[in-house]
Assembly symmetry: C2
Homo-oligomer: 342 residues x 2
């Protein structure tokens, strides 16, 4: 292993040479670890939904078959990176060893329980055994070790919450963290999509002192957020229909439209609705992974909308603590998460 600093884990790439771990075919998970690496005793792999479904569809839903396929991928690639879907997931484990030069030297100690917030597609992994397959929530219990690079993001698992709750929030914790930066008091904010990340974004926007509009295709979803005090007004609309979104948001804002639009929808073609709902020189933050770059950049130009178009970075300093604190500050939000997403 490299004796020098290797914040992006380049020395763990076996092939092809010169690429980053996420783009690599095969990674080297062997020990000892480098000076700025973390070694984790892995307890659970939370496999990405699309990846787990593809495995079930290809080898069948029997736990032994799923376990064998996961073991095959990991032994071949040195990481749990589904070659068909290209997706990974995240893991939970306990710190075994912290490199002398690792940035979290002061914050972590051996034995601490953490979740990795960087994808399994770039995490060197060696499995000794898969002890249990939880077929219906895409999760496997394992024995083995993983390596986290200095650039790798992690979060300590809180003692005051069940793993299922903290993981549901940590899965989307980049979103509220960026809302905290983007929204100022007195602004009108539209959150498109009232699901997992939508609920957190509404809560953060309210905490920032904004008037919050929650838009979703489901009446129940918006009523829930308004009922929990996380949004000031619920709007039922199909976010894939820009003309409908424009009409309903114009009505709700007396034609003034919104200072900030946060897109947390889970379906494609919601770009134009987000843009049209934004006032001139306003800002749109896209978290939806179904967002198309060209539809956004060309769409804004086509309707003459001079608005800032941000891609929702999944990482922001302190995003995990901020999101877990949101759950602590808003008991109603926490209960909602426990019931719906944990």
């Amino acid at each position: 292993m490299a004796r020098t600093l290797d914040p992006y884990g380049l020395s763990r790439v076996i092939r092809p040479a010169g690429v980053l771990p996420q783009a690599a075919e095969v990674l080297d998970p062997s020990l000892p670890a480098g000076p700025d690496e973390l070694v984790i005793d892995v307890d659970h792999l939370n496999i990405d939904a699309a990846s787990f479904k593809q495995i079930k569809d290809s080898v069948g839903a029997e736990p032994e078959r799923i376990a064998a396929e996961i073991e095959r991928i990991v032994s071949e690639r040195g990481k749990m990176h589904n070659p068909v879907t290209g997706s990974g997931g995240m893991l939970i484990g306990r710190i075994r060893e912290i490199g002398a030069a690792h940035p979290a030297r002061e914050q972590l100690q051996p034995g601490d329980r953490i979740a990795t917030l960087v994808s399994l597609t770039l995490t060197p992994l060696r499995l000794e055994a898969i002890t249990k397959v939880h077929v219906d929530n895409d999760r496997v219990d394992v024995k083995g070790h993983a390596i986290l690079f200095a650039s790798g993001i992690w979060a300590k698992l809180p003692e005051d919450m069940a793993d299922t709750l903290s993981l549901a929030a940590l899965d989307v914790c980049g979103a509220p963290a960026l809302v905290e930066r983007a929204v100022s008091a007195g602004q009108t904010v539209l959150v498109l999509g009232s699901g997992k990340s939508g609920a957190l974004c509404c809560a953060q926007a309210k905490d920032n002192g904004a008037r919050v509009l929650a838009l979703d295709i489901s009446q129940k979803a918006v009523d829930t957020l308004v009922g929990l005090g996380l949004a000031d007004e619920g709007i039922v609309a199909d976010a894939t229909k820009p003309v409908e979104v424009l009409e309903k948001i114009s009505a709700a804002t007396g034609g003034k439209l919104c200072d900030v639009v946060i897109n947390c929808a889970s379906v494609p073609r919601t770009e134009m609705g987000s843009i049209l709902a934004t006032k001139d020189r306003g800002r749109v933050v896209f978290f939806s992974m179904a967002t198309s770059f060209t539809a956004t950049a060309l769409g804004a130009e086509g309707v003459g909308k001079d608005v800032d178009l941000l891609m929702g970075n999944g990482f922001a300093h302190g995003h995990a603590e901020l999101t877990l604190d949101l759950l602590r500050k808003h008991p109603a939000l926490r209960r909602h998460f426990e019931e719906r997403f944990a």
Copy 2:
């Protein structure tokens, strides 16, 4: 035609009902115009390169065949929207009529020569004749009229420049306009791609007082920009190789990396190179239409880079004047444009 205000031209959509003009199958270009519309006597259609190539490949390169195919598309759809490539282009013409309620009421008069800066894919168009096909620069001379909505962006064609020069700049004028906003004096700015938009972005970043690094795969391209005084340092690198970009930018900045990275590359998979070259809490502005949303949002998260990720909006208030003024302020840049792009 609608007697009420219709800034996005919704009333000109024939089918399917309830969509925006750009998504419509067919638009209605008929007169009279609505109160907040502009009528243009069209002189030239600058067809998008991909669209013109597709037409040539399908009907052959004889001018009559190309003209007949363009006439067929326009008479069927009421706009020059290539159904295969989905792309349009822009047009040049003279103002025939300005609606009493049109926002440019004070800035334009009949007879003014303008270029539309919104795509032909959303511009109602009726052609009486195609008088000439310029097969090698994707351009046709025509007789006919077009409609510009209140939201439609236009630019007056300057008298002190040939159309070919002003159009080459207007084609990418959103890029330097956003650089003007994003870059402050004393910052280190990387412009990735030293082509048409790259040259303009370097010039604007220099005007903002930044230290400008120009990166391209071609030594000649970077030498040209440095030679013209538009960039302080040229870096030859393949922007699709993030590790190479990181090494060369680290070397060029003593490991500090860049405050702002402007991506004007014309090839896919340049997202990670752009992100890795950016310092913590820095900003990346993506103009390249080959940018992938997921590669960017997930890529930044994967390497723990807390940077702002902006999509390059093609429109910004005053973007046309700013860009034409750049050519006027920098004679060397203007000559470069005349030689290479006009």
